[in-house]
C-alpha cells in the first residue's frame, strides 16, 4: 500500500481523543523526565510498563514514543539553563546553549532548539515513513539464518556504543544467559530453575528493566547534590538574524541525525556530537563556538530529535533497536505479544502507522509546549531530587509486584537493582542486558531452525548473502571502535 494512504489511516487513529490524550501524556512525561535529574526516558518507560501491562498496545507504544522524543526536548532545558545535560544526547547543547543563557539569550537558545527539534522531528518522521516500509518489505524474505544474524548485529551494535565494547558485550551475554532461565520452549526441559516454581517462567522483562533502569538509576543518583542556580530565560522567540544563522544547521542536523539514528544502536548522542563537529567545520568563524554560537545549539538539537525518529526505523522494520530506549520499547512490543520486525508492517500495520502519525502530532504538541511554556518547565529544575526518588522506588516495587502478583519478583527487583547500581556506578551499559534477555529466545529459536535447515552445518550463516552481510556488519561494529581506540592511543603516545 502507498505509505501516504497508510499514514492517513494512522492519522485517523492517532487523532481519536484516546490516542491524542496518551500522546500528550507521553510527550509531557518525556519533557518532565528530560528536565528532572536522575531519571531518563528508559527509566520512565520502564516505570510505565507495569501500568500499561494488559492495556491497548497502540496506546502504550504511542505514549512510550512520546516519552522518548519528548525527553530530547526536556534535556535541552537543563543543558541551556544550568549547564547540566538532562540526557547524554544534549551534552553538546550545553557548550553553546549555556553560554547563550549567561549572555541573557537562554530563551532564544531554547526557542531555536524547540523549532529545530520540531523541524528535525517532522523530517525524521517523514524519513521513517518512507524508509521503514521498503526495508521491512525487503526483510520479509529473511529466514532463520538472517534473523539469527540480525540478533547478533543488534546485540553487538548496542554493546559497542558504550564506553567499553568489552563491558557492553559482557552485559549483553549476561542478558542472553538470563534468557535461558525457565522452560526450554523447544523440548519443555526446565533450565536453571533450581527447583523454584516461580522461576519456570524465567526472568520477566519488566522486572529486569525496572530494576536496572529504575532502582539502579535511583541508587546511583540519590547522592546528587543541589543544582546550580538557574539563569534568566528571556524571550524564547529567535530574531530574523538568529533564524538566518540556524536554518542550514537545522537542515544539516536533521539529515545527519536521521541517517545516524537509522544505524543500529548509533543513536542520538553520536548524532549530536557529529552535528556539532560539522557545524563548527562549516562555520565562517569557528572561534565563536563554545562562546554562545546559536549554530552550536540548532545543529545538535535538530540531530538528536531526528535520530530519535531514525532509531525507530530498525526497531519497526527489522526488530533491532536503534538505541537503549528503543531496546526497552522493543521489549515492550514483545511483552504485548507482538513481534517487532518486518512482519509488523503486515500484521500490525495499524499500530505502526498510528505511532508514526502520533509522532507528527507529538512534535506539534512539543513545539506548542516549549515556546511559550519553557519558563514553566524550568521551574521543575528547582524540585530537589530527594523529594523525587522515594516515590520512584515505591512505584518500582508496586509496579513489579503488580505484573504477576509475585513477591519473588520483588526479590529479583532488589537483587537486579543492586546490580544495576553497580553497573551504573562503573559505567557498564544496561541496555545490552535488557536486549539480551528480550532477544535470547528469538536467538535460540532461529539458531535451531537454521541448523535444522542446513542439516547441522554452521556454514548456512555465511553462505547466504544477507546473513553473511549482517554478520560482517556485526563484526565491524566490534572491530571498528577497537581499531579507532588503538589508533587514538598510538597518536597520543606519539605526541607525548
Amino acid at each position: 500500500m502507498d505509505p501516504f494512504v497508510d499514514l492517513m489511516q494512522g492519522f485517523a487513529a492517532a487523532l481519536t481523543p484516546k490516542y491524542l490524550l496518551v500522546c500528550f501524556v507521553g510527550v509531557l512525561l518525556g519533557q518532565i523526565v528530560g528536565v528532572l535529574p536522575g531519571i531518563g526516558p528508559s527509566a520512565a518507560i520502564a516505570l510505565l510498563l507495569p501500568l500499561t501491562y494488559n492495556s491497548d498496545p497502540t496506546a502504550a507504544i504511542i505514549m512510550f514514543a512520546g516519552v522518548y522524543y519528548g525527553a530530547q526536548y526536556g534535556g535541552t532545558l537543563t543543558s541551556v539553563l544550568i549547564s547540566v545535560p538532562g540526557e547524554s544526547s544534549t551534552v553538546m547543547t550545553t557548550v553553546d546553549g549555556y553560554q547563550m543563557a549567561l549572555q541573557g539569550r537562554g530563551g532564544v537558545a531554547l526557542g531555536i532548539a524547540a523549532i529545530g527539534s520540531f523541524i528535525a522531528g517532522t523530517l525524521g518522521t517523514l524519513g521513517l515513513m518512507l524508509l521503514a516500509p521498503p526495508l521491512a518489505k525487503a526483510a520479509l524474505a529473511f529466514g532463520p539464518p538472517e534473523y539469527f544474524a540480525l540478533v547478533v548485529l543488534g546485540l553487538t551494535a548496542l554493546a559497542a556504543v558504550g564506553s567499553s565494547v568489552m563491558k557492553g558485550l559482557t552485559t549483553g551475554v549476561a542478558g542472553l544467559l538470563l534468557g535461558t532461565i525457565g522452560i526450554d520452549p523447544q523440548n519443555g526441559i526446565a533450565r536453571f530453575d533450581y527447583g523454584q516454581i516461580w522461576l519456570l517462567d524465567g526472568v520477566e522483562f519488566i522486572v529486569l528493566t525496572v530494576a536496572l533502569f529504575g532502582v539502579g538509576e535511583v541508587l546511583a543518583s540519590c547522592t546528587l547534590g543541589v543544582l546550580r542556580p538557574i539563569v534568566n530565560i528571556g524571550s524564547p522567540f529567535p530574531t530574523r538574524e538568529d533564524w538566518r544563522a540556524s536554518r542550514m544547521p537545522i537542515l544539516r542536523g536533521s539529515i545527519i541525525g536521521f541517517l545516524i539514528g537509522v544505524l543500529p544502536a548509533a543513536g542520538a548522542t553520536i548524532a549530536s556530537f557529529i552535528s556539532y563537529i560539522v557545524e563548527k567545520r562549516c562555520a565562517k568563524d569557528p572561534s565563536r563556538f563554545g562562546r554562545g554560537a546559536i549554530e552550536g545549539v540548532a545543529g545538535p538539537e535538530s540531530s538528536n530529535n531526528a535520530a530519535s525518529a531514525g532509531a525507530m526505523v530498525p526497531m519497526f522494520a527489522l526488530g533491532v533497536p536503534g538505541s537503549g530506549t528503543t531496546a526497552v520499547m522493543l521489549g515492550a512490543l514483545i511483552m504485548f505479544g507482538l513481534r517487532p520486525g518486518p512482519e509488523m508492517f503486515v500484521q500490525n500495520s495499524g499500530l505502526v502507522w498510528a505511532v508514526i502519525a502520533s509522532m507528527y502530532i507529538g512534535n506539534v504538541l512539543l513545539l506548542i509546549m516549549n515556546l511559550p511554556l519553557a519558563g514553566v518547565f524550568a521551574r521543575l529544575l528547582k524540585v530537589p531530587y530527594y523529594w523525587l526518588y522515594p516515590p520512584i522506588l515505591a512505584l518500582c516495587v508496586a509496579g513489579v509486584y503488580s505484573q504477576d502478583n509475585s513477591i519473588q519478583d520483588c526479590w529479583l527487583l532488589v537483587a537486579f537493582g543492586a546490580l544495576g547500581w553497580m553497573m551504573k556506578r562503573y559505567d557498564w551499559p544496561a541496555a545490552p542486558m535488557i536486549l539480551g534477555l528480550v532477544l535470547g529466545p528469538l536467538f535460540e529459536e532461529n539458531l535451531r531452525r537454521a541448523m535444522d535447515m542446513s542439516h547441522g552445518s554452521g556454514l548456512i550463516f555465511v553462505s547466504r548473502p544477507i546473513s553473511s552481510l549482517l554478520l560482517a556488519a556485526a563484526l565491524l561494529t566490534l572491530t571498528v571502535p577497537a581499531l579507532l581506540a588503538f589508533l587514538r592511543d598510538r597518536r597520543a603516545l606519539a605526541q607525548a
Binding site: 547522592t223 503488580s402 546490580l419
Partner: protein, 150 residues
Amino acid sequence: MQGRPAPGEVGLASIFAIVGVVWIAGAARMTIWDGGFAPDSGFLPLIYGILLTALSAITVVSLFWGDAAADAGAIAKPLLVLAAVLVAVIGLSVAGFGIAIFLMLLFLYAVVEKLPVVRSLLAAAGTTAVLYVVFKTWLGVPLPIGPLGI
C-alpha cells in the same frame, strides 16, 4: 600494568564471571547435542557461560592494564536506600503493601534525607495513598494485605 582498578568494579566483573561458571556447571548436566541437526537445551547456556566467564576475565585484566580508576561516589547512602527497599519487600508479606511502603517512604524522607517530620509524614502518606488507589482501585491489583487491612 598502569594502575589499580576500583575494587568495586573488579567485584562486579567477578560476579559476572561466577555466574558464567555456574551456567557452565548447570549446562554440563544437560544434553548439549543429542545427535540431531540442532543443538539441545544445554548448548547455548554452555556457550553463554563460557563467553560470560571469558569476557568478564578479559574485562578484569583490561581494568588492571588501564588507567587507575577511583572508586568514585559515596556508597553509604545508596546502601541505606537499598536496605530500605529490601526491608519494604520483606514487609510486603508481613505488614501489607500500605504499611510497608509508607514506612519505607517515611524512613527515606525523615531518616535518610533528614527532612522535617511533618512534611515527611505527609509526603509518605500521600505517595502511598496515590499508589494504593492507582494499583488497587484503578488497575485491580490484589496488593498484599497486612493486619490493618491495607
